[in-house]
């Protein structure tokens, strides 16, 4: 072949694959998340330990329950559900297999009756229930705040935002951080002259539902940019601008990677990624840091719960210490059960979730249900029947 003599000189010039690999090795150390700075000192509202609610008002345990249950639903509640199912398996030896497939898929699986229970961040509407095989009992399981996380390396304390400003940012009408609207809310902060990288969910999401619900209630600009209130709230939004991240993880990665990034996340993901998040103005006019305590206040003062508990609590409370972007997440169970063992297991499991399960919620940065609401949820369990008679005693 005659290529031995000149091989080396060519070799050094023409090996294109090696530099490509080298880029990977050298850049590996600078991943996302490293730029996130934890929120500065917690506001007095969030300081101190979270006292477990210690509810004892559950129903009596029903005997003869099945040893396994299957459920499907939102990813929002999945980390909480895995804690509940592990603890419940240890204490009561019942396996709860939860598929975190998304709220829409959870509702679809309830309608097809392929799971024992469903879960969704938006309750089933009348038209959803019409497609199901019978009446559905819906009960909130837990409350959770959605935070507005941002990545501005020099600003470690919570920026102040109101709904209209956040709405303008996500509608693409505020594009730099030193916009007068942001400066006006944060007179003492030196906001940098950086372009805003808007990050939203690319997949349908209950988190999006809660966040867009808040924007729709607080930001006329958001509503008009999206073309009306029927289009400005939902699990999917026709986002005018921004990066779509898949899942809470995708959003936190994109925010963490971009100086100037802003996105909305469930609190537990923002805490896990060490992202800084904003204090948001509530109905009473105060800027509130999101945490378990302030999210719990989001249902404070609500008394007019409908009998089926299908209520929108986002930005409703007028409590001075309530974090406004707080939503509920629902369990969906057929009211008329046909299998005695499954019916007993369902009532027992959700009874655990609504009583002892509420005590462990705060450890995963979820918010236990308020006392008033929790009582009503236990009442929902009593509506589940087997051959016409209530399962719970």
């Amino acid at each position: 072949m005659g290529d031995r003599s000149t091989g080396r000189s060519w070799f050094s010039v023409m090996l294109p694959a090696i530099p490509v690999l080298a880029v990977g090795l050298s850049a590996c150390g600078s991943g996302a998340g490293s730029s996130g700075v934890p929120s500065a000192t917690p506001s007095p509202l969030c300081a101190g330990v979270n006292t477990p609610p210690g509810h004892t008002n559950g129903v009596a345990s029903v005997s003869g329950g099945a040893s396994s249950l299957s459920g499907a639903g939102g990813t929002f509640v999945a980390p909480m559900m895995s804690i509940w199912s592990a603890a419940y398996n240890t204490s009561d030896h019942v396996q709860v297999a939860y598929q975190s497939v998304g709220s829409g898929a959870g509702i679809a699986q309830v309608q097809a009756a392929t799971v024992d229970f469903g879960e969704s961040d938006a309750f089933m509407t009348d038209s959803d229930i019409a497609k199901a095989k019978g009446p559905v009992v819906q009960t909130p399981l837990v409350q959770a705040p959605v935070v507005v996380a941002y990545n501005l390396p020099e600003i470690t304390s919570g920026l102040h935002f109101d709904g209209e400003t956040v709405g303008k940012i996500f509608a693409g009408q505020i594009t730099t951080w030193n916009d007068p609207a942001i400066k006006k809310l944060n007179p003492n902060v030196n906001v940098p002259n950086l372009p805003i990288a808007v990050v939203h969910r690319s997949d349908g999401s209950g988190t999006t539902f809660i966040f867009s619900d808040f924007l729709t209630k607080e930001s006329p600009t958001w509503v008009s940019a999206l073309g009306g209130k029927d289009k400005s709230v939902g699990k999917t939004i026709a986002w005018p601008v921004g990066i779509g991240g898949k899942g809470n993880e995708g959003v936190s990665a994109a925010v963490g990677q971009n100086s100037g990034g802003i996105g909305y996340l469930e609190l537990s993901y923002a805490v896990a990624q060490n992202l800084t998040y904003a204090d948001v103005k509530n109905k009473a006019g105060s800027f509130i840091q999101p945490c378990v305590k302030t999210a719990a206040n989001a249902t404070a003062g609500i008394t007019d719960y409908p009998p089926d508990l299908r209520i929108d609590v986002v930005d409703v409370s007028t409590d001075a210490d309530a974090y406004p972007i707080t939503g509920l997440t629902w369990a969906l169970v057929y009211q008329k059960q046909t299998d005695a063992a499954k019916a007993a297991a369902l009532v027992n499991f959700f009874n655990y979730v609504l009583t002892k399960g509420q005590d462990v919620a705060a450890t995963a940065d979820y918010t236990p249900l308020g006392a008033d609401l929790q009582k009503l949820c236990v009442g929902q369990l009593r509506k589940i029947t087997l051959n016409g008679t209530p399962v719970a005693a």
């Binding site: 072949m1 005659g2 290529d3 031995r4 000149t6 091989g7 080396r8 060519w10 070799f11 023409m14 090996l15 294109p16 694959a17 490509v20 880029v23 990977g24 050298s26 850049a27 590996c28 600078s30 991943g31 996302a32 497939v101 998304g102 709220s103 829409g104 898929a105 509702i107 679809a108 372009p195 990288a197 690319s202 997949d203 349908g204 999401s205 999206l226 073309g227 289009k231 939902g234 699990k235 999917t236 939004i237 026709a238 986002w239 005018p240 601008v241 921004g242 990066i243 779509g244 991240g245 898949k246 995708g250 990665a253 994109a254 990677q257 971009n258 990034g261």
Partner: protein, 337 residues
């Protein structure tokens, strides 16, 4: 077809089934083998046909409701604006996804093909002999990396690495009127360009591996003849290796293109998933046909949403088939050159 191989087929046809001609009894093994092969081959065709029928059937409600071609004449995808009764305008336009698929694949090809050809030449003709085998297996190893790993790597390693370069481009070339529009900023990491770059790195080993085999098949005596005539290494490659390999390189590239067009998870992770419309800059966010399906099918709860995702799947299949057929035409023409 080259004259030689055409002659070969003709020769076989003149003497069909020599075993049968000799009057011997056909063995049981032959008929079992024949039937088994026919069955497996038939299953492949059946699966393909069933897939097309399935996609059309699933997408049919949306196609009927909005009209067959309305999705490929609109570039606005807004499921939240869909209603069960309104049929115009179609909120499920997919031109921006076709654009995203084509653009990212194109960026991938432009970067990967020269690199892959170079890498293959290094392995076959340039690198010191003792390095060729390890290099060769390294390339094969790269081809086996799962795509989700490429996506992860793209997100956490590649984006920080290219950011200074892209920031420089957007702040210089990107500010020029008209020609600067496709290079405009600001750059937020995930973009058409990033997706193209990740695709390039994914398809590079595949193209390089095929090219390597193609270059290896160059007759040794032709290479030696070129060197004997006083050709340098480069001239030897230019005279003896590359002309014969042209159709092989094209074929290899099209195999790579096939993977790039359908690649889903890695692209979904780095393209930014802006589904609403086409963004003009390659440094802006976009979406491809496969990325929108991967993102939205789990929560496709709006009216005609899931059906429209099947429509996207149908057109993706069409695009893939067109790319493949184009590949055949190009390869055939390449051979006759």
């Amino acid at each position: 077809m080259s004259p030689a191989s055409a002659g070969g087929i003709a020769a076989i046809e003149r003497h069909p089934l020599p075993i049968a001609l000799r009057g011997e009894r056909r063995r049981l093994g032959d008929s079992v083998f024949g039937a088994a092969v026919a069955l497996t081959g038939g299953v492949v065709l059946l699966v393909l046909a069933a897939m097309v029928v399935f996609l059309v059937l699933q997408g049919l409600p949306a196609m009927r409701h909005y009209g067959f071609f309305s999705s490929i004449t609109s570039q606005r995808w807004a499921p939240s604006e869909a209603s069960a009764t309104l049929s115009t305008p179609n909120p499920y336009g997919i031109v921006q996804f076709i654009y995203g698929t084509v653009l990212t694949s194109l960026i991938g090809m432009v970067i990967a093909v020269p690199l892959a050809v170079g890498a293959a030449l290094v392995i076959t003709d340039v690198a010191p002999r003792r390095l060729r085998r390890p290099l060769s297996s390294l390339v094969d190893l790269l081809a086996a990396v799962p795509s989700v790993v490429y996506g992860f790597w793209g997100l956490f390693a590649l984006i920080p690495a290219i950011r200074p370069v892209v920031d420089f481009i957007t702040s210089t070339l990107g500010t020029v009127p008209v020609i600067g529009v496709p290079f405009g900023g600001p750059f937020f990491g995930v973009s058409y360009f990033t997706a193209g770059l990740v695709l390039a790195i994914m398809i590079l080993p595949i193209i390089a591996a095929v090219c390597r085999e193609v270059f290896r098949s160059t007759p040794r005596n032709e290479k030696e003849a070129a060197v004997a005539l006083g050709a340098t290494r480069w001239e030897m490659i230019r005279i003896a290796v590359l002309p014969r390999a042209r159709s092989g390189i094209v074929g290899a590239s099209l195999i790579g293109l096939g993977r790039a067009v359908g690649e889903t998870i890695a692209v979904t992770m780095v393209i930014g998933n802006a589904v609403l419309h086409i963004n003009p800059s390659i440094f802006d966010q976009g979406a491809t046909m496969s990325s929108v399906i991967a993102n939205e099918f789990t929560e496709a709860t709006e009216p005609f949403h899931l059906e429209s995702l099947f429509v996207v799947g149908f057109w993706l299949l069409i695009v893939a088939l067109v790319v493949n057929m184009l590949a055949r035409v190009v390869v055939r023409r390449g051979v006759s050159l």
